[in-house]
Amino acid sequence: MADTIPLAEAHSLVARARAGDSGALEHLYRAYEGSVYTLARRLTRTPEDAEDVLQETFLEICRSLSRWRGEGSLWGWVRQIAASKALMRYRREKLRATEVLDDDLAERAGDDVPLRLDLEAALRRLPERTRTVVWLHDVEGMTHEEIAEQMGMTTSFSKSQLARAHQKLRGWLGEEGADR
């Protein structure tokens, strides 16, 4: 996702926001609320969770503005905070046990699953952790190293999760190659 605020403008906005200029803070919020909410919707289970992530992300931004060094894009920094908040929620809710169930259900893509899903439905069907890797890598363009650091896992785990996700998506999208 491209940054909607040019770097020079980002520097100026952040400097004003750090100094307590609420107009600058609101400008940052308006520029990124849609991107943060979309990311949160993709990484969490419910719209309500995504709304909470949106709110927590911007509160964290207000607290941490002095930590943005201005070296990379502002969206990259905001995205890192948003992903971190979504993952914290995921960890807090102890979804691991539930996710095993999700995995089992996904593997049994037979009786209770239509023969072919659209991409939106197939993405939703991925286990949360796997979906997070797919979204952060394929859509947000994060590297496996960045994802591994964010999720507290290894790069090889991130790579294998991505491969596994694409294998599942291929089946659910009805694109299974006959000779592969």
């Binding site: 100094a19 911007f58 394929d138 790579k159 491969a163």
Partner: protein, 197 residues
């Protein structure tokens, strides 16, 4: 087909991301099945990126702004409480060191006076509710600069090593603090007059 097997999904994804190994590159060049799979993986990524975005169902800015304001304010008040404690400590420490000064009574009077000025300015500033008001960019920049200097000065006042050897310096710092607070009061007063609040 080049080789005895097809590329794995992980190998083809690495290739798609521009990181594939020499074997995978060579293999895809001569294997129609893997070339088609690579193309499919590229298409899935493109379709993922084209999925619709979402808009928050409610505007959360007011909630975020209010909570951020409360957090900022609690930080400000915490610093204020810390300074009251620092002032008390400064008074106690002055008593401890004043025996070494040539004119302890005069030094103490100066210090008390500077601290009183500082306290008066702090009360005036508090009365203007500085954390509850939005500032324009220029005013915010001035306030940030003054607060930064205030915080640096407070750090020195809270560290007796900064002034124990020269207690008159302590009174100077409290005077400087009163001056910074006075400047902050000016900025906020001007702003209040300007917007007619």
């Amino acid at each position: 087909m080049n080789g005895t097997r097809h590329g794995t999904t992980e190998e083809l994804l690495a290739l798609r991301d521009g990181e594939g190994g020499a074997w995978a590159k060579a293999h895809v060049g001569s294997c129609a099945v893997c070339a088609a799979e690579l193309y499919r993986l590229e298409q899935v990524r493109a379709r993922l990126r084209a999925l619709p975005t979402f808009s928050p169902p409610r505007d959360r800015w007011a909630v975020v702004a209010e909570r951020a304001r409360v957090e900022r304010r609690s930080g400000w008040w915490s610093r204020g409480v810390g300074l009251v404690a620092a002032a008390s400590l400064a008074g106690l420490l002055l008593v401890a060191v004043q025996g070494t000064r040539p004119d302890p009574l005069q030094a103490q009077v100066r210090l008390r006076s500077a601290m009183a000025r500082s306290e008066a300015m702090e009360q005036a500033l508090r009365g203007l509710d500085p954390d509850g008001r939005a500032l324009d960019g220029t005013a915010a920049g001035v306030v940030a600069d003054l607060q930064g200097r205030l915080e640096a000065l407070d750090a020195k006042l809270g560290d007796p090593a900064e002034w124990r050897a020269a207690p008159h310096r302590q009174a100077e710092m409290w005077n400087e603090r009163a001056g910074l607070l006075s400047a902050l009061v000016d900025v906020h007063t001007t702003r209040v007059a300007y917007v007619g609040l």
